[in-house]
């Protein structure tokens, strides 16, 4: 094999996969279609979510996965994607697989799929700690234990780890038509096929890093498919939409994206160093890249876990009166104090937050302006308590304070704020925070990642290993 031609497609399920772009990609005879379908960006709540299809919803998911599988079937090529957006937990992976099951049934496709779970068994992880394995945090943040503890593991509802390329390679070796993983390192998905076929790790990793967000590496940068051709010491990359092109600038600058460092990127087993990378425009739309280095490091995977801190209810209140805008800090402090005084001791511990959009809600302490400078503002109140009922009760009381608390110069004795919508209190369900964001050393990159080969379409019972025995079908999960 002289080269690997790789067709990239998002597998997040946003509903924006373009069949037109995929079709153009198929004409170039790709060896494999690859996409990422997990992310921690949307925040901690999804990893805790009991919904089968959170975040993107089942309709978007089914549409996009249908196009990726259609490409694989029509192009007779293997597919590799992570699934269960955004968390990659077993429940959400099961959601992806029940959609795949339905798609294969509806379209008459028969697909043998290697399924690799990214969810970590809590007892296994505790045993690692008891063996003396040290699991340091990956960010110096007060909410994270400096080193992972058993109590962290107990407090987390679900724990996942970002697998490297090795479990995916192992799945590809099982003679499958494709691989669907849970939580995985995005670049690992794109590296797996080239590594299986003996290509250089640095070239594969740099190619993967470049195309993992699709045409965000192109100009203009936008969500769309890209195509990469990987050879022994370099790779070429170009977008599949004719109205976009890759330029040296667009590709080199993508090294910045969502990364803390522009020259070094830590991956399982090493870091990619792109400081000596060279970029060359080989035609109007294609850039050739070479020169990155792979520096071996002890093998670690990132583990992620979320803790439920209670149930959240929110309410919004519009402020238009210049007198209130002038005294907004005093007013907010009054509302906060009165709500605390009323409820502290009445119920269990609760958290209360008031943000003023129009002042410093978005930037917090980094906001250069210290007061409201526009003519209106919005107060967002958020209460987290042990139960939804208590959170909503506190929020309702707080809303009353927003409407009727006094402030200097107040004339609005019939109500201080504009409450949008009815009902004005919005229960948002369980609230989560990140509790585990740590680096777990592994002697064997495969060890914590369970794998099964499943022939689709299948009986739903064949997916129950991901759901604690519960049956998943047609968008529903049995209790």
């Amino acid at each position: 094999m002289d080269e690997v031609r790789l067709l990239q497609s998002s597998a997040m399920g946003y509903g924006n996969v373009s069949w037109e772009s995929i079709r153009r990609g198929l004409e170039l005879q790709p060896h494999v279609i690859v996409g990422q379908g997990t992310s921690s960006d949307p925040g901690p709540a999804y990893l805790g979510s009991d919904e089968l299809h959170p975040y993107v919803g089942r309709l978007n998911r089914k549409r996009d996965l249908g196009l990726i599988l259609r490409a694989a079937v029509e192009g007779r090529i293997p597919f590799i994607f992570s699934g269960g957006s955004p968390s990659g937990s077993d429940l959400h992976l099961a959601g992806v697989l029940e959609v795949v099951n339905e798609l294969t049934r509806e379209n008459g496709w028969r697909l043998r799929i290697g399924v690799v779970s990214g969810q970590i068994d809590k007892a296994w992880l505790k045993a690692k700690l008891r063996q003396g394995v040290r699991v340091p945090r990956l960010a110096d943040y007060p909410g994270l234990s400096p080193e992972l503890t058993e109590s962290d593991i107990d407090e987390c509802k679900v724990i996942v780890a970002q697998m490297g390329p090795e479990p995916i390679i192992e799945a590809l070796r099982q003679g499958v038509d494709g691989v669907i993983t849970g939580r995985a390192v995005d670049v690992a998905l794109y590296m797996a096929y080239p590594l299986l076929h003996g290509f250089d790790r640095a070239v594969a990793a740099h190619m993967a890093k470049t195309i993992e967000c699709g045409a965000l590496c192109a100009d203009p940068p936008i969500a769309d498919n890209v195509f990469a051709i990987l050879r022994r010491d370099h790779f070429d990359v170009f977008p599949l939409s004719p109205e976009r092109r890759c330029t040296v600038m667009s590709v080199a600058s993508h090294a910045f994206y969502e990364r803390p460092d522009i020259f070094r990127e830590l991956n399982p087993g090493g870091f990619l160093d792109v400081s000596e990378a060279r970029y060359e425009q080989v035609d109007e739309r294609t850039v050739r890249v070479r020169g990155a280095q792979w520096v071996e490091q002890p093998y670690t995977v990132k583990v992620e876990g979320v803790q439920r801190i209670g149930y959240r209810t929110i309410t919004l209140a519009g402020v238009r009166d210049p007198a209130l805008l002038e005294h907004i800090d005093y007013f907010i402090e009054t509302v906060r104090r009165r709500t605390r005084e009323k409820w502290e001791g009445e119920v269990g511990p609760f958290e209360l937050e008031l943000m003023v959009f129009g002042k410093d809600a978005v930037l917090g302490p980094s906001e250069p302006y210290s007061r409201v400078t526009g003519h209106e503002a919005c107060v967002l109140a958020s209460v987290v308590a042990d139960t939804q009922e208590v959170a909503t009760a506190i929020t309702a009381y707080l809303r009353g304070q927003l409407l009727f608390a006094d402030y200097p110069g107040r004339t609005s004795t019939a109500g201080n704020v504009a409450v949008p919508f009815s009902p004005g209190d919005i229960p948002t369900g369980p609230a989560y925070v990140w509790r585990i964001w740590h680096a777990l050393p592994l002697d064997d990159p495969l060890e914590p990642f369970r794998m099964r080969v499943v022939d689709f379409p299948c009986d739903p019972s064949e997916l129950a290993w991901l759901t604690g025995g519960r049956r998943v079908e047609g968008g529903r999960i049995d209790d």
């Binding site: 960006d41 909410g143 910045f256 969502e258 990364r259 522009i262 978005v362 930037l363 967002l380 964001w437």
Partner: protein
Amino acid sequence: MTRRIRLAEGARIFRSKNAGPFRTTVDIFYTSRDSYLALKNSGALTRKAVADRLRVPAEAVEGIFFSDETLGIKITFAKHPRMASGDMRCADTFGAQQYVALKDWEIEVDDG
């Protein structure tokens, strides 16, 4: 001759995003090499200066990178306590608006 310019002057891209839930990374790409080099060579973009601008401790500013090839500057810093993605005080889950704290920052540059 010295003059003061905004960090956003001559930038074609000025954006931010989470680099994980606990840190924000700001990317700035300039159109002209002159503006980029003037800012880079000003020596004003230090961890201390960025920290003062963001009102965070100096150790919260984890990295400032200059890329001559792309005319790019990257600044990575820890999020405020209680403002990590998903926290009680989080109003920007993706970190997508945090760059604005730096956009109007006036930097003294030497036009030589």
